[in-house]
């Protein structure tokens, strides 16, 4: 059994009421662009791109925007040269934090992240200091209204899930990456 991600469910509630759609769109577009850059434009052979496109569609992003973001990644359209950068940090109460960024300027990003941490009772950690505690998992959130806990539990355990937790008004299903899309 693995732990769970409380932030994933808190964030979902926030997203429901989040008026800052622009930020969500920007995030998804960056993710699509970098996914296409790293793994090519075909979502069937590029699971990172597949997930990003699913998220774009769930957010009602127009198909044209998705297409342009992919073309920027593959170089068919001129675009910004994005890179992944991951930072590790400590928050209040000794909480371990991992911050995933996509940036065209790593120097600016790290300096900004340090600033945000310092202003909010956190501090940057050395690479490897906290990341060993984390593992990549697929998290699926399903509203509780539609099904009973027992019924869903039997479905997902049959399908090979690691764990399920009830968090407020959603079920949070934890599975390995290998079976997330199945």
């Amino acid at each position: 059994m693995s732990g769970h991600s409380k932030w994933a469910t808190i964030k979902r509630k926030k997203a429901v009421t989040d008026a800052r759609r622009g930020k969500i769109f920007t995030q998804i577009i960056k993710e699509i662009t970098i996914a296409a850059k790293m793994g090519g434009s075909n979502p069937d052979g590029n699971s990172r791109l597949r997930l990003a496109i699913d998220k774009a569609k769930a957010s009602n992003m127009p198909a044209d925007n998705i297409k342009r973001a992919i073309q920027k990644g593959t170089g068919e359209l001129p675009g910004v040269n994005y890179e992944d950068a991951i930072y590790e940090a400590y928050g209040p109460g000794g909480v371990a934090i991992i911050i995933e960024t996509v940036t065209d300027n790593k120097n600016r990003t790290i300096s900004d992240i340090r600033h945000v941490l310092e202003r909010n009772h956190g501090k940057i950690a050395t690479t490897g200091a906290v990341s060993f505690q984390f593992h990549k998992k697929g998290i699926i959130l399903v509203p509780r209204a539609a099904i009973s806990e027992d019924e869903l539990l039997s479905v997902i355990l049959d399908a090979g899930a690691d764990d399920m937790k009830t968090e407020g008004d959603v079920y949070s299903i934890v599975s390995s990456l290998k079976i997330l899309k199945r």
Binding site: S2, S5, G93, P143, G168, L180
Partner: protein, 69 residues
């Protein structure tokens, strides 16, 4: 997993890859308030795609802090 859930005609709110910690740290009081502010400030930065953390905060405590409502 996604297909198994969809086969039951259930609506999926989100299906994403997250970094999940082996163990969680229980946080409450002032630390919990500061932590939520920090997480929100990080998420709001334009270059940040995703933030993961190993904390656990009681739902009651979350309601008190007033996040997500």
């Amino acid at each position: 997993m996604k297909k198994a859930v969809e086969a039951k005609n259930l609506k999926i709110d989100s299906a994403e890859i997250h970094l999940v910690a082996d163990n969680t740290v229980k946080v409450e009081g002032k630390d919990a308030e500061n932590l939520i502010s920090l997480m929100e400030a990080l998420e709001e930065h334009d270059d940040v795609q995703k933030v993961h953390a190993n904390f656990d905060i009681d739902d009651k405590e979350l309601a008190r802090i007033g996040t997500g409502n």
